[in-house]
Amino acid sequence: MPQRNAILGASPIRKEGRAKVLGAAQYTDDLALPDMWHGATVRSTVARGYIRNITFAHEVNWDEFCIVRASDIPGKNVIVHLMQDHPCLANGYVNHPDEPILLIAHPEKAALLRALKNIHIDYDELPGVFTIEESEAAVKALVEKNDDSRIIWPTPKADYEGGPNCFKTYEMYSGDAEKTETGLEAAFETADFIVEGEYATGAQEQLYIENNGVIAECFYTQQGEVESVCVRGSMQCPFYLVHALTLVFGLPDDKCRVIQVETGGAFGGKEDFPSVIGSHAALLAMKSKHPVKIIYDRAEDMAGTTKRHPSRTRHRTAVRKDGTLLGGTIEVTLDGGAYATLSSTVLSRATIHASGPYKWPHLRVRSKAMATNLPPHGAFRGFGAPQSLFGVERHMDRIAHTLGLTPEEVRRKNFLGTGDTTATGQPLVDKVDMQHMLTRALNEAGYHEKVARFAEENKHSLIKRGVGFAAFMHGTGFTGSGERRLNSLVYLDVLEDGLPQILVSSTEFGQGTNTILSQVAAQTLNLPYEDIRLAQPDTSVVPNSGPTVASRTAMIVGKLVERASLQMLETLRLQVHLPADHTREEFIAAAKAYRAQYGTLRASARYEPPAPIFWDDEKYRGDAYPGYAWAVYVAEVAVDMRTYMATCTRFDALQEVGKVMHPVLAKGQVEGGVAQGIGYALYEKCVWKDGHLANNQMTNYIMPTSADLPPIHVHFEEVPSIHGPMGAKGIGELPMDGPAPAIMNAIENATGISFCTIPLLPEDIFERVQSLGHPHGGTEDLDPSVDRDTRVEEVSA
């Protein structure tokens, strides 16, 4: 009897590892099609205004070029994400710098640069708004003075749910709205302390090392009409691009084929954006009658594509002097940029995560996504959660300092546990033990010893050291009814050789999709890992298993692969008498016998919620996610008070992820997310100049190198969830949430200064210390509830 192989939980080498270390893995720019042309994008140089005139200089022979204008678009001039407000090409009007206006293509890539320089566009410029505050001020001017000069969209105004300059708003209560309002009133009336705070985060560039790129083809009928289009490229969500193409070309789904090729990093940056570049290349292919490749260069990619939404979170909290939360109001505001893209769903995740892993007797969260004349912000690992969790985890430390308690005491008083309900009213049925998680994380990090020791050492040192932590959770999969709407489907085929192939639209871009899905199938089918293959994500071949986002692949798609595998086994056992506890050879023989008898063998599984999931989109209440992963992250920092440089010197990351499917990959996901989180907190600053990203290159947009990262210690807890294969939950985005607040809390521990805005660069620390008039730290002893690094402003209740 063969030993049941333990593949899930082992760490086999990545499926595509050999190709990657040999340099044989082929990314988009490594591919070429016969007679292929190269495309480029003509972009706006102003933030907002009417296009008055486009001039093509005589120096260039334009007959050699294919030029696509908005008027060439056969279908709708729109890039559909959740709404249809985002033009494929600007038509008469631009709303942000670097907005695509024209597309050009030429057989020679080298000819494009010169051509771009010889196209001149004149504008009638209009004033722009570039921050959340400016956008709010514009709304105020409209309301109070009937001044619509900075309401950014042209007439007829787009139909955004949020009203002028606002894409979307949410209002979420911890219970019945009226009762919660009454409860809040009483809480603020009876509270020992009311603690207020404002927390802000900046934009962050995904900075995948492979820029966005696609190759498009267009096929014609004999009558010369567009029959179909096909786009290959670097992307996360092939079916998103199919959807976008159907509108731009007015073609049915099955005439818009999309193929994902090896993708050199994505992090959310290739979730929504490939719909733009993919549509552009397809339009050039249509008009030029050649395959067209568009590869952005780094400067163009950084300036022209999406980033993480900048945010502002305001807390007002009623607490008892022992640290118990009595009630709170939270306002989350995101800067969505010029078009809606995914802002409403990013805002949704920010709203739901704003409460942190705490019990709030009465809570109201109001949130909104404002429009500005920046290029649209979009998906980036974490998707709104890092922003609002930064607010709540900084605020918990502020509450502690106000009350004279430790950050640990305040959190322990209020942690959610098994059987509690979250702020959306979701009962936590699975075991949740944040008390134990906190104890373990602090022990692993040597937290208490360090707090005591650094306090002594800092007295005599210009290097101030500190430790801080953040406790948080991250919902796995789509929010609320999202997974039910996605209705994901996976196939599992047996090929001629009697071995299986997984068919999913879930894509690999470094996170390990290929590997973990193969592990699930191998484990369930009791076959060697090496025997499992994955079909290339080609929408003409694979079913729609949903987008590769939201930490959903391991848990949701993994579960479907597990179910399809079980179904395949059952078929083989029933139809061709595959023995129980079969060997590899028996499986192959049975599969071949089945194929001989029935032709093909395909198992399929479609998503169904394993337990009834209740979600009310109107009231924003119910079971927000199928499951949450839970974590406590501890950061140790050193702040050099001579150079004002803050450095993270050690990092401990403890998370509960259900079941660790591949320990090496899981650890890698956490380390990578922590690296990006450290960059988010301490290095990566987007410098905007009238809406244009001024530092659009890697020399002055700084991200961590190998020399900048501290030792990262990764620890796991496992509490299997019924929703994932063998208990696994999502892990991809979780590590992005914790580092920034943990690091800022550690910096406050080190310096006594509460920094509430990230990124925090040396010049920011310098300015703050100077403004306090205390050159060397120890400054928040006066009134810790007053925030000095943001504007003093009324927090509206």
Binding site: L22, R298, L665, E671, T705, A707
Partner: protein, 240 residues
Amino acid sequence: MSHPFDLGPEPDEFAEEEHQLAKSGLNLELSRRRFVQAAGVLSAVATVGLPGPLFGEKPATSGQAVTLKVNGQTQALNVDPRTSLLDALREKLDMTGTKKGCDHGQCGACTVLIDGRRVNSCLTLAVAAEGAEITTIEGLAKSADPKDISELHPVQAAFLQHDGYQCGYCTPGQICSAVAAIEEQKQGALSIVSFHTGNTDHPDLSDDEIRERMSGNICRCGAYPNIVAAVRAASKGATV
């Protein structure tokens, strides 16, 4: 007034200077100085925004013949003299293993070996690499189509075993860079970490040394801990 494209001393002067310094074991210092001189020229050009050939205003009227020796094979090609080694490899020789990340020498994805030394191929003119031994990721493994891990270059094998990559895009550059970094350490080359630690006499490849010496190769996936582990293992002659 000097010509705006004056690149400093004639190449022959460099050769002589390099020869003298190599004898005294200081050639690393020279390459740094060379870099600074070259960087000075580049930034001067950027500042004044010079038009003309450097910025591709005019298509080249005729190509230049150049012979490159890549992975042991000599190949004759005709290039616009402004073509970078990276573009020559990828577009003229169809060797796409070397990747373009930024095209500005900022990310290290395009790292190849020239006479065993690591360079950013996007900052190297193809014509300047004539006569040198160029090694790319495609030339590292022991066989053209390795079927077994033992046929990989030890650094490739270590990256595979230690999961020293995620998306894989920076990986060819990381591996080429690691091959040279290990060799540099064997030759006794120093890094800033050597000076910080005071360990300036043939320092070992400690993790801090590896982190510093590999810091020119950016990995946005953040696979650095595994990259360091792979380089550490490979430097000790192990793959695991």
